[in-house]
C-alpha cells in the first residue's frame, strides 16, 4: 500500500511547496512560475508541445538507431578480431573522453540547422556506450560454453550466433539505456545551438520571450520524453531478454 501512495504523495507535496513558496515570497512569474501557471501554459499550447516533442523524439530515436546500427557491428568486429582490436580499441577509448557536445557547433556548420545535425549529435553521444558495452558483453561469454562449442567443432558463425551474441544481449541492453538517455541530451543541445524546431528550441524561444511558464512546460515535456525513451528500452529488454530476473534482483 505504501509503495502506491508515497511516490505520488512526494510529488504532490513538492508541487504544493513550490506553489506556496511562489506566493509567499512573491516570486515574479518571469523568474519562477507556479505549478498552476505551468500547467495552464502546457494545456493551452499542448499542440505545440506535442509537435515539437515529436521532432525531438525523432532526433533521439533516429540518432539512437544509427548508434545501434553502427555500434553493434563495430563491436562485433573488434571483439572477434585481435588485429582490429589492437588497432582500434585505443582510438575508441580516447575518443570516448572527448565531450561529444563540444563537436556540436562543427556539426552544425557541416550539416546545417535541419534535423540532420541534431541526429548526428545524438548519434555520436549514443555511439560509445553501445560499442563499449556490446564489446564487454561479447567478451563475457563463460569459458566453459565456448569450450563446449569448440569440443563440438562448432563453426565461428555458430559460436557467434548461438553463444556469444545471446550472452552479450543483457550488456547491449544496459548500454542502450545509457545511450538513449544521452541521445536525448545530445538532441536538445543541438537544438539549443542552432535549430528552428524541437523542445529545446521551444525552451529557448519561450525564455527569450519571457514566457517562463511555457519554458517550464517545455522542460517537463522533455523530462517526459526522456522517461518515455528509457521505458521503450525497458520494454525491449523485457521482450528480448525474458530470462533475466527483474533488475531489482540482479547484482550488476
Amino acid at each position: 500500500m505504501k509503495k502506491a501512495i508515497y511516490p505520488p504523495l512526494g510529488i504532490v507535496l513538492t508541487l504544493a511547496l513550490w506553489q506556496w513558496a511562489c506566493v509567499e515570497f512573491k516570486i515574479p512569474t518571469a523568474a519562477l512560475p507556479t505549478p498552476g501557471q505551468v500547467a495552464v501554459a502546457g494545456v493551452q499550447r499542448w499542440d505545440l508541445l506535442l509537435s515539437e516533442g515529436w521532432v525531438t523524439l525523432k532526433e533521439t530515436l533516429y540518432g539512437f538507431g544509427l548508434a545501434l546500427a553502427f555500434g553493434i557491428p563495430i563491436a562485433v568486429a573488434v571483439a572477434n578480431s585481435e588485429t582490429l582490436n589492437l588497432m582500434f580499441s585505443p582510438l575508441l577509448i580516447a575518443l570516448q573522453s572527448v565531450p561529444k557536445v563540444a563537436l556540436a557547433p562543427i556539426l552544425l556548420v557541416w550539416l546545417g540547422t535541419g534535423i540532420e545535425s541534431k541526429l548526428a549529435i545524438a548519434w555520436l553521444v549514443a555511439f560509445f556506450p553501445i560499442v563499449v558495452d556490446t564489446s564487454a558483453g561479447l567478451q563475457s561469454t563463460p569459458r566453459e560454453l565456448l569450450e563446449l562449442a569448440r569440443s563440438l567443432r562448432a563453426s565461428r558463425w555458430q559460436i557467434f550466433a548461438k553463444v556469444q551474441f545471446p550472452a552479450a544481449l543483457p550488456f547491449v541492453v544496459t548500454g542502450s539505456k545509457v545511450a538513449v538517455t544521452l541521445a536525448v541530451i545530445g538532441a536538445v543541445i543541438g537544438e539549443f545551438i542552432g535549430s528552428s524546431e524541437g523542445l529545446g528550441y521551444l525552451l529557448l524561444s519561450a525564455t527569450s520571450q519571457i514566457n517562463t511558464p511555457l519554458a517550464f512546460a517545455a522542460l517537463f515535456a522533455l523530462a517526459a520524453l526522456g522517461i518515455l525513451a528509457y521505458l521503450l528500452i525497458v520494454a525491449v529488454e523485457w521482450m528480448l531478454t525474458p530470462w533475466l530476473p527483474p533488475s531489482s534482483e540482479r547484482s550488476h
Partner: protein, 258 residues
C-alpha cells in the same frame, strides 16, 4: 588394445621467471600412463592443483600435450572431438534457453536435430528426474538440478567418452550423493565410458572401476587401485568393509594416512 590409452603423456608450461625475459618450465604433468576399457568408469583422484584437470583437458583435445600419446578407440586425439561429452564443475547452461533447448544444443551444432533427438533429450531428462521441467529456465532451477541438465546435455549426442571435471564439487553432500547414484544409473542404462576427476576419496571409490591416484604437481600416477566392489552399488556399499579397505589404500596413496 585398450579403449582408452594414455602413454607417457607430459605437459610442460612455459612461465615467465621473475621480471626478466627468461621463461622457466613448469611441469604440470610428468609421465601419465593409463588405460581403460569401454564402459568403465575411471577416476582421477588427487589434491587440488595436481594437474588432473589439465590431463582431462588434454584427453579432450582442448589443450595440447608436450609429448606422449593419447589414444581413444585406437585413434590419436589431436583436437576437440564431437564424439566426447563434457560436464564441468559449473553447469554453465545457457540462460536464454529453456531446459530442453539446452540439452538439445549439441545436436543442433552437430546438425542432428531431426528424428529422435528431441525424444532422446526427453528420455534423458526423465531418467534424471527432471520430467516436466523441459520448459523451465535455468535460473528457476537449483544448482543440483542445473547440473543434472548439464549431464543430460553431455549425453544427448551419444558420446563415446564422457569426461567429467569435478562435476559435483560445488554441490552439498546430500545432493552430491544423489548425483552419484544418478551417474551410476546412467552408466547402467547407456553403458557410457567415463573419465571422472575428483578430489573426494569416497566419491572416487563409490563410482569407479579403477581409481588413479595422483601425486602433487608435477602430476604423476602414484597408484592404480582396482575397485572390485560389486554392481549394482547403493548407499549401503559405502559402509562395507571392502569400501573401507579401498578408502584406506587410497588415503595412503594420497599421503593422508601413512
Amino acid at each position: 588394445m585398450s579403449f582408452g590409452q594414455l602413454t607417457n603423456v607430459r605437459r610442460v608450461f612455459e612461465r615467465r621467471a621473475g621480471s626478466g625475459r627468461r621463461t622457466e618450465a613448469l611441469v604440470a604433468i610428468d609421465d601419465a600412463t593409463l588405460a581403460f576399457e569401454q564402459s568403465e568408469l575411471v577416476s582421477l583422484l588427487g589434491p587440488s592443483g595436481c594437474g588432473k584437470t589439465t590431463l582431462l583437458r588434454i584427453m579432450a583435445g582442448l589443450i595440447p600435450k608436450t609429448s606422449g600419446s593419447v589414444q581413444i578407440r585406437g585413434e590419436e586425439v589431436t583436437g576437440p572431438h564431437p564424439d566426447f561429452g563434457f560436464v564441468f564443475q559449473t553447469p554453465t547452461l545457457m540462460p536464454w534457453r529453456n531446459v530442453l533447448d539446452n540439452v538439445l544444443f549439441p545436436m543442433e551444432i552437430l546438425g542432428r536435430s531431426g528424428g529422435g533427438a528431441r525424444q532422446r533429450a526427453l528420455d534423458l531428462l526423465k531418467l534424471s528426474g527432471l520430467e516436466g521441467f523441459h520448459h523451465a529456465r535455468p535460473h528457476q532451477l537449483s544448482g543440483g538440478m542445473q547440473q543434472r541438465v548439464a549431464l543430460c546435455r553431455a549425453l544427448v549426442h551419444e558420446p563415446t567418452l564422457l569426461l567429467m571435471d569435478e562435476p559435483f564439487g560445488a554441490l552439498d553432500e546430500l545432493t552430491r550423493m544423489e548425483m552419484n547414484d544418478l551417474l551410476l544409473q546412467i552408466r547402467t542404462r547407456t553403458r557410457a565410458t567415463v573419465v571422472f576427476v575428483t578430489h573426494s576419496i569416497a566419491e572416487a571409490i563409490y563410482l569407479s572401476d579403477q581409481v588413479l591416484v595422483f601425486s602433487r604437481r608435477p602430476a604423476r600416477i602414484a597408484e592404480r587401485i582396482v575397485v572390485d566392489l560389486p554392481y549394482p552399488r547403493s548407499p549401503e556399499t559405502r559402509f562395507s568393509a571392502r569400501f573401507a579397505e579401498l578408502s584406506r589404500t587410497a588415503s595412503r596413496a594420497l599421503g593422508v594416512l601413512h
